[in-house]
């Protein structure tokens, strides 16, 4: 009885100000007056939706791959170093992690702009003659998103690596494995749960990105989130609701699928920002 009384105010609050509004909005996708799946049926041959959906998925996949390739070595370094070096690595990972998406996207605008640092540097080095167009391309989106989501990949992997008993790798070397073999055959397989958690986290968060692609992305590389916002601006609620349902369902399906893998259940329970 007392536990329920303690939880009730928040549950009521979340119901009234969060769950019911979102549900009511999502329901608009099933028709304003009568139940219908017509809106969803029309999505199947809607070129704008299909292109946006594909763009969102492929961006998420690229970003996930990028964060994995860049994140694993850093996670390994974070776990294998001690003292000051480890502290510095941690701060370098966490400082951007703690900085708002808006500010980090802005940083990439500064770097990638027509007169940004990257172009200036390339010009000065004589590698190019005219400034390259980097800002407002899909490449810019992918780079900035990798930068923003990298900590979400590093931290779960580092967590998994930290739980591996260091004597295992030593035992492998003792049994004649080269350092690379010891890594491939002992450390890598044991870190798979961390990798899976990181991949899930980054992929799902990528799907919902809005600010960054809108700021640094190309005018044609629209993500689902941007399309939803656009439709709301045009008061096209039914369409926006359909798209929201698709976006939400995709995220939940991915989480459900990953949760069947062992050791991932906690991915979303970490205190992530």
């Amino acid at each position: 009885m007392i536990p329920l009384l303690l939880a009730a105010p928040l549950l009521l609050y979340m119901l009234v100000f969060y769950a019911l509004p979102v549900l009511a909005m999502l329901l608009k996708g099933f028709g304003e007056q009568h139940w219908t799946l017509a809106h969803y049926a029309s999505l199947a041959d809607d070129p704008v939706f299909l292109k946006t959906f594909w763009n969102t998925l492929s961006t998420a996949a690229l970003v996930t791959l990028g964060t994995l390739l860049l994140g694993y070595p850093v996670a390994l370094a974070l776990v294998r170093t001690r003292g000051v070096t480890a502290a510095i690595i941690l701060v370098v990972i966490l400082l951007p992690f703690w900085t708002s998406v808006l500010v980090r996207s802005y940083a990439w605008m500064v770097l990638m702009g027509r007169h940004g640092l990257i172009n200036e540097a390339l010009l000065a080095a004589g590698l190019i003659e005219r400034p390259l167009r980097i800002l407002n391309t899909s490449l810019a989106t992918v780079i900035a998103m990798i930068h923003i989501l990298l900590p979400y990949m590093i931290l779960p992997i580092a967590n998994a690596l930290r739980q591996i008993d260091p004597s295992l790798a030593r035992a492998a070397s003792g049994l004649g494995a080269s350092p690379f073999q010891a890594f491939r055959q002992v450390v890598l397989p044991l870190s798979v749960p961390g990798v899976a958690a990181g991949v899930l986290l980054v992929f799902v968060l990528s799907l919902g990105f809005y600010i960054t692609p809108a700021m640094v992305g190309g005018p044609r590389d629209i993500t689902l989130s941007m399309l939803i916002a656009q439709q709301v601006d045009q008061l096209n609620w039914a369409y926006a609701a359909c798209l929201s349902t698709v976006l939400l369902a995709t995220s939940l399906a991915l989480i459900a699928a990953f949760q069947r893998l062992p050791g991932i259940g906690n991915a979303f329970r970490m205190n992530t920002r």
């Binding site: 939880a7 909005m25 951007p96 500064v110 930068h147 939940l252 920002r273």
Partner: protein
């Protein structure tokens, strides 16, 4: 032989160094640019000065949204910390099926794409005149901040040795006194950490603000966003630097508290 053995190590160090540079450099650039004396955006700056900070502090257009963001975030902290802490105390003791549903409801803002939350709330709030009002922002941001409070407090609750509560009872403390004199002091760091996260989550929030700010309740991120659409002048770098400093120092406090709490409870807390 030594070269062959040292080379891979040097390469791997260089690779990690480059990745860390990739992570840290953009932030450094923003900070450096904010101290530029140039009237346009260029890097490295020709000379240093505080003109962009002066521009920021001299402009009501910037200060008004700043105060609003601080006020909204403070209200969000108050609301989400009270609701979230009470709920965290109750959630763990609810019967199983109810607990799972309640936890899903409370924690789902962490995984539901924020655009979906934003337009859902916008859709409902627009009917009740809550768009363009600070109250609407507070109510919406609280939904997004609550998961941070609940996870943080739950983690510190889970970290408490249940024997401490038993000890208090055996020493004659009523359940009420046990809660006030033992449980509450022990979860205090978790509550504060949750409150700090709640503050930052509201202070940095943009997507919901894009829909709910209207013209009457423009927050700092919203103001920055509007500015960026037209120009990228270094005032934004100065504002960004200030917000980086604010959030970084709040999170440093959170980190220290968490470390101290762990030492205190003698048990590693989950988060």
């Amino acid at each position: 032989m030594t070269v062959a053995r040292l080379l891979p190590r040097t390469i791997s160090k260089a690779v990690v160094g480059l990745i860390l540079l990739f992570l840290g450099f953009p932030i450094v650039v923003v900070v450096v640019v904010s101290f530029s004396s140039a009237t346009y955006l260029t890097f490295p700056p020709p000379a240093f000065g505080l003109r962009w900070y002066e521009a920021y502090f001299g402009s009501a257009d910037w200060l008004r949204p700043t105060w609003l963001s601080l006020a909204v975030a403070s209200a969000v902290v108050a609301l989400s910390t009270v609701l979230g802490t009470l709920a965290a105390l109750g959630l763990g003791r609810l019967p199983k099926p109810l607990r799972v549903v309640a936890a899903a409801l409370v924690l789902s803002p962490l995984i539901v794409p924020v655009i979906v939350v934003a337009i859902g709330i916008y859709y409902a709030f627009s009917r009740y005149g809550l768009v363009g009002s600070p109250l609407g922002l507070v109510l919406a941001h609280t939904c997004l901040a609550v998961p941070f409070v609940v996870t943080s407090v739950s983690a510190s609750l889970a970290g408490i040795d249940p024997r401490l509560q038993q000890a208090a009872l055996s020493l004659g403390a009523t359940p009420r006194n046990t809660f006030l004199q033992v449980t509450l002091p022990l979860i205090r760091p978790g509550v504060i950490v949750g409150a700090l996260f709640a503050f930052i989550s509201s202070f940095d929030e943009l997507v919901v603000a894009l829909f709910l700010s209207g013209s009457g309740a423009v927050t700092l991120p919203r103001r920055m966003w509007d500015d960026l659409r037209f120009q990228i002048d270094p005032t934004i770098a100065a504002v960004s630097t200030l917000t980086i400093v604010l959030t970084a120092s709040l999170l440093a406090v959170a980190h220290l508290l968490r470390r101290r709490a762990q030492g205190n409870l003698g048990k590693a807390s989950v988060t």
